[in-house]
């Protein structure tokens, strides 16, 4: 690699409940993302004309999130006219994919300073409204054995023998860790309050966390995917997993990621860009990887992606000090820890998407920022962030403090 790709900053909005009674519902997606661009600009006295590209993940790029929202944000943030923008979609990996692409642009030497992140306002552009042939076109869905990912999550739990209690216990821990981290102020440096047109604060901190969660409360929630399964999707999955007698539907709204609004932005650049813009590298992006396995169970590729990134970096599991795995569903995180052979003590130490929510296109860059902040707070060296991704894909990024 000709150049190192450095992270200078990683910011995010607080995550708001992704329903009409969520605090961020009144904010436009473009405005939410533009707010972060302005924050980066102000935090670093950035001459925006020096930014080569803005890469933004968005999983529901339709309506007000459609037609290249990345460039729309750049224009709305009043950045220099010369700054381009591109929106990408690798499902739930989009935010981290944006970071990885930015890193690759810089590492290749073809660009020097790139903003990467994502935006998703699930309260305004609901998940799934962009359709897609994989799920909605019978020919394609039959040919590929499509099943909704919640059923894949339940299948993972069934295969591993994880019961509802095991799954709920993980969810409870996510809530407790997230609440503790937020209350201790661990997120304060990177969460940029969302303000209205007058500068008044609309939302300053994550609002989705439920610190009073109990096992009893979680245990009372109804399984989310039993009905879809009974409609026929269980049979579709069981055809590929004939060792199983049936699918144990353990995932509920309480142990799955929350539906929220949010955005993220990471400033990435070369050594030359650091000098030219007076920026301080906080970490180096060591390696990135994407891979895929069975699309029907869909959610088991984060482990393989992590191993692929480690191999590329010439590192082993023991070289990683802290891990972030997106809590799309509790079984995904449990399966990742099992696949990597890692302890919950160094994984998602500040909670995850079960507690804070998963704004689809933004999450990847959010968990990378949380990982970096925590490495610094604990004075540790390396971290790895991974997500499960639609289509059976997995993504991983390794960072190392400098």
């Amino acid at each position: 690699m000709s150049n190192h790709a450095y992270i200078f900053d990683a910011v995010r909005t607080p995550r708001g409940k992704g329903k009409k009674d969520g605090s961020l519902h009144e904010v436009k997606p473009t405005a939410l993302g533009a707010g972060l661009l302005r924050a980066l600009q102000h935090r670093h006295q950035l001459n925006t004309a020096n930014v080569d590209d803005v890469v933004m993940g968005c999983v529901t790029p339709i309506g007000e999130q459609g037609s290249d929202i990345a460039k729309t944000m750049v224009m709305y943030a009043d950045w220099d006219e010369s700054v381009p923008g591109v929106q990408l979609d690798r499902f739930c990996a989009s935010g981290l994919e944006a970071v990885n692409i930015a890193a690759q642009k810089v590492a290749s030497g073809w660009e020097d300073l790139v903003v990467a992140g994502g935006v998703e306002m699930m309260s305004r552009v609901p998940m799934g409204v962009n359709g897609g042939a994989w799920s909605n076109d019978p020919e394609i869905s039959i040919h590929t054995g499509f099943a909704p990912q919640g059923i894949g999550a339940d299948t993972i739990a069934t295969i591993e023998g994880w019961q509802r209690d095991d799954i709920d216990r993980f969810a409870l821990q996510s809530q407790q860790r997230a609440a503790a981290a937020r209350d201790a102020g661990y997120f304060d440096n990177s969460v940029i309050p969302v303000v209205d047109r007058n500068g008044a604060v609309i939302l300053a901190r994550d609002e989705f966390i439920k610190p009073n969660t109990t096992m009893e409360g979680l245990g009372g929630l109804k399984p989310s995917f039993a009905k879809l399964g009974a409609m026929g999707f269980d049979d579709v999955v069981l055809k590929k997993y004939p060792h199983l007698a049936a699918i144990n539907h353990v995932h509920t709204p309480g142990n799955s990621s929350g539906i929220v609004d949010g955005a993220s932005a990471v400033l990435i650049g070369s050594e030359a860009a650091a000098k030219a813009n007076n920026l301080t590298p906080r970490a180096r992006i060591v390696a990135t990887a994407v891979t895929a396995n069975d699309p029907t169970i869909m959610l088991t590729a984060p482990g393989p992606a992590a191993y692929k990134a480690l191999a590329k970096a010439g590192l082993s599991v023991a070289d990683i000090d802290l891990w972030e795995i997106n809590e799309a569903f509790a079984s995904v995180a449990l399966r990742f820890m099992k696949d990597m052979g890692i302890s919950p003590d160094i994984t998602n130490v500040n909670g995850g998407a079960i507690a804070m929510g998963h704004p689809l296109g933004a999450t990847g860059a959010m968990i990378l920022g949380i990982l970096l902040d925590e490495l610094e707070r604990r004075n540790l060296k390396r971290g790895l962030a991974a997500l499960c991704v639609g289509g059976g894909q997995g993504i991983a990024t390794i960072i190392e403090r400098v």
Binding site: P138, I142, M231, F233, D235, P242, L244, A245
Partner: protein, 721 residues
């Protein structure tokens, strides 16, 4: 002015209305070569007809139009799809030409219009049907492994909307005229055939010229919305899973219909027609289409029309039926007979037992009443036909007496001898046995020539098949009487010769035996059971053994050993061994005895945790394809042996019997038909099946060796017909 265009009578009247009376060669109008010539010539002539105020399509046959030419389609082999594409595109081009005449075109439907017949009607502007009981209207192509390729998918969706049309297309529903009117396939009903043409002319005369089909009008929208409508998107997203639940992914036709339907709501009418033609052509040469047409349609019709019944014997009806034994089978037989209006004497050892047997019919009727499918009056009428008794003498004058008592030779001998004396003159005595040879039972009766096996399947009220077993001494008239009775109670009879296990039980036992073998080899029992379902059997082999009960399997094995006939036909030694140990060593007698291979609770069933380790020393992994083929091929080989040994007198009996009695997967068209379309590597048909037998025999044992009849057919380059 009249003309005959290849069998289409073309007549123009003084109002400038042309009536086309379709009268193709043969008993019905069908979409065959002659039709294509006639239709092309007719449409061509109509397009130059001046003046022209309207067109009527009518039929000179009892039915309006029978649909596609299935025999022609059976000839189509893989690689010939394109010729069928061109062929249907040709017909559809003529249909479009008809639709573009700009004058009203009416279908005057005097009888069944199915498949291609209804497609022709849908290409007309208006459909009038006479309200006859015998008329069926619908697009049943899916039941033949096909899709409506003559514009049926496209036009029904443009006419009715996706949500209404989809179930009709995917289930292939056939409707009476009144229901077709309600659905929207038919626009107007008249009472008699004579009113059809006047009604058609009246409609034409009140309809302006320049008439266009709805889909050709400028602002046409598909009812219920197109692909951009959220409800349509949801429907299309859910439909594949719902379909999979029914077909387990084994039937391509309904999947292809779904696929075409999605395109119909996405692209324009004429593009959709092309897509539909390509999909149709892709289905015609599939093994599934050939199997469904051959086994599920032609042979089913052949059996139901009496091919296995001795000819020249006057048909008989049973006016009084005797049933001995009011247990599970006896009470079901009594119900099925009474349901068809046959008076039944239901005899058991005690009046309490007999009453309990009758109560079963009451319970079944209550269920139907709860679903709105029957009335209290229906229930009373049915129950009044069943007379429970403990007195043999009540059987006096029965035309047919069927014993359905416990499978014990001495018991049956005694009860048959006693009952025989009460038969009406020329009455027939029958046994419902599934395990004891008919000729052996016949030793206990005075007139073995009037004795026969009538084997019902459980549950009798749901299972449509009867296996008639002809004993050595059974006369033709006895067989005919059993056959007629089967049809009287609306069941499909196959006829087989007396041999251990007859046909259905013998073949089915190999499914259970092969599962037991794999269990003892160390294959994961859950996998065995699930892969049984994946080949298309209704229930996994271990689950079904639990239902039948290990106890029964063990008893049958003991009985056969005592008789010295154990494994003299099908090799069931592995299952006998497993079930014997289940009963004698582990006290696990079956689902209804507290558990078998599975434990049962309200939450469902789970594998008995001790199962694998009690029957196998170590777990082994087998290729899933091999597991599936072992479960399937054993049954096919056993069916071929039944044909070879003369247990089956016809291929049709074997196919229909396996489909309806054993649960042979629909896609096979029956266990013998499956061989005709088998594909293995580059091989096709019997040779392909033989090659797979050889592989399985080499790897898993000589029970997979090719039966002689297969070798003979391959040597003669013959198929099983």
């Amino acid at each position: 002015m009249s003309d005959n265009l290849h069998g289409f009578h073309y007549h123009k009247d003084s109002d400038a209305i042309v009536t086309i009376t379709m009268d193709l060669d043969g008993p019905v109008n069908a979409m065959n070569e002659q039709f294509r010539l006639a239709f092309t010539a007719t449409v061509e002539k109509l397009s130059h007809e001046k003046p022209l105020h309207g067109v009527i399509f009518a039929s000179a046959k009892n039915t309006f139009f029978a649909g596609g030419d299935l025999k022609e389609m059976l000839q189509c082999m893989p690689g010939e799809e394109e010729s069928f594409y061109e062929l249907v595109q040709g017909i559809k081009a003529d249909m479009r030409k008809l639709e573009h005449l700009q004058v009203p075109v009416v279908a005057a439907i005097n009888g069944s219009a199915l498949g291609g017949g209804l497609e022709l009607c849908l290409a007309c502007n208006y459909r009038i049907a006479s309200d006859k009981k015998s008329t069926l209207i619908g697009l049943p192509e899916v039941t033949l492994g096909l899709l409506p390729g003559g514009g049926g998918v496209v036009r029904s969706i443009h006419l009715l909307g996706l949500q209404k049309a989809l179930p009709l297309l995917i289930e292939g529903k056939r409707m009476r005229p009144a229901q077709a009117l309600e659905t929207g396939f038919i626009d107007h009903l008249v009472a008699t055939d004579e009113e059809l043409i006047p009604a058609a002319k009246a409609w034409i005369l009140q309809t302006p010229e320049g008439w266009q089909q709805p889909w050709d009008r400028p602002k046409h929208k598909i009812p219920g919305g197109d692909v951009w409508h959220p409800v349509i998107q949801q429907t299309l997203a859910a439909a594949p899973a719902m379909l999979f639940q029914k077909t387990r992914g084994l039937l391509p036709a309904p999947e292809r219909i779904l696929s075409v339907a999605a395109d119909v709501v996405t692209v324009d009418f004429d593009t959709a027609q092309r897509i539909e033609s390509r999909a149709f052509a892709s289905l015609v040469p599939t093994k599934e289409a050939k199997n469904l047409i051959t086994g599920g349609f032609f042979q089913m019709n052949k059996i139901n029309s009496g091919a296995s019944r001795p000819r020249d014997i006057a048909p008989r009806r049973v006016a009084k039926l005797g049933v001995l034994g009011a247990g599970m089978m006896g009470q079901g037989i009594a119900y099925s007979a009474a349901k068809s209006g046959v008076p039944v004497i239901l005899k058991d050892v005690s009046i309490d037992a007999a009453n309990k047997g009758k109560a079963y019919s009451g319970m079944l009727m209550d269920k139907q009443i709860a679903r709105g499918r029957a009335s209290e009056a229906d229930k009373e009428a049915l129950l009044s036909l069943i007379h429970p008794t403990q007195d043999m003498a009540d059987l006096q004058g029965c035309d047919l007496i069927i014993e359905a008592v416990f499978e014990d030779l001495a018991l049956k001998h005694g009860i048959l001898a006693e009952a025989e004396q009460y038969l009406a003159e020329n009455g027939v005595l029958a046994s419902n046995t599934s395990t004891l040879p008919i000729s052996l039972l016949a030793e206990g009766v005075k007139n073995p020539q009037r004795f026969i096996g009538i084997h019902f399947f459980s549950p009798v009220d749901k299972m449509p098949l009867i296996e008639i077993i002809r004993g050595e001494a059974s006369e033709d008239s006895t067989l005919a009487a059993a056959f007629d009775f089967s049809q009287q109670i609306r069941k499909t009879p196959i006829v087989v010769n007396d041999s251990l296990g007859f046909f259905t039980s013998r073949v089915f036992s190999t499914y259970l035996d092969e599962a037991a073998r794999m269990l003892t080899e160390g294959v994961d029992p859950m996998l065995i059971d699930n892969l049984g379902k994946q080949i298309g059997m209704p229930v996994g082999p271990l689950t079904v053994q639990d239902e039948v009960s290990q106890q029964l399997a063990d008893r049958i094995a003991d009985t056969h050993k005592a008789m010295g006939v154990f494994c003299s036909k099908a090799d069931t030694s592995a299952n006998a061994e497993v079930c014997g140990r289940m009963v004698k060593e582990f006290n696990r007698l079956g689902r209804h005895h507290g558990g078998g291979f599975f434990d049962y609770s309200e939450g469902g069933k789970t594998l008995w945790p001790e199962l694998a380790k009690n029957f196998a020393s170590q777990a082994i992994e087998l290729d899933h394809a091999d597991i599936k083929d072992r479960l399937l091929v054993r049954q096919v080989i056993e069916s071929l042996k039944c044909l070879e040994e003369g247990v089956l007198s016809s291929v049709a009996d074997g196919n229909v019997g396996s489909l309806m009695g054993i649960g042979a997967p629909t896609w096979t068209g029956g266990f013998i038909q499956m061989v005709n379309t088998y594909q293995h590597g580059d091989l096709y048909g019997p040779a392909a099946f033989a090659a797979r037998c050889d592989e399985l025999a080499a790897q898993f044992g000589d029970r997979f060796e090719q039966p002689q009849i297969l070798r003979n057919n391959i040597a003669n380059n013959a198929f099983f017909h």
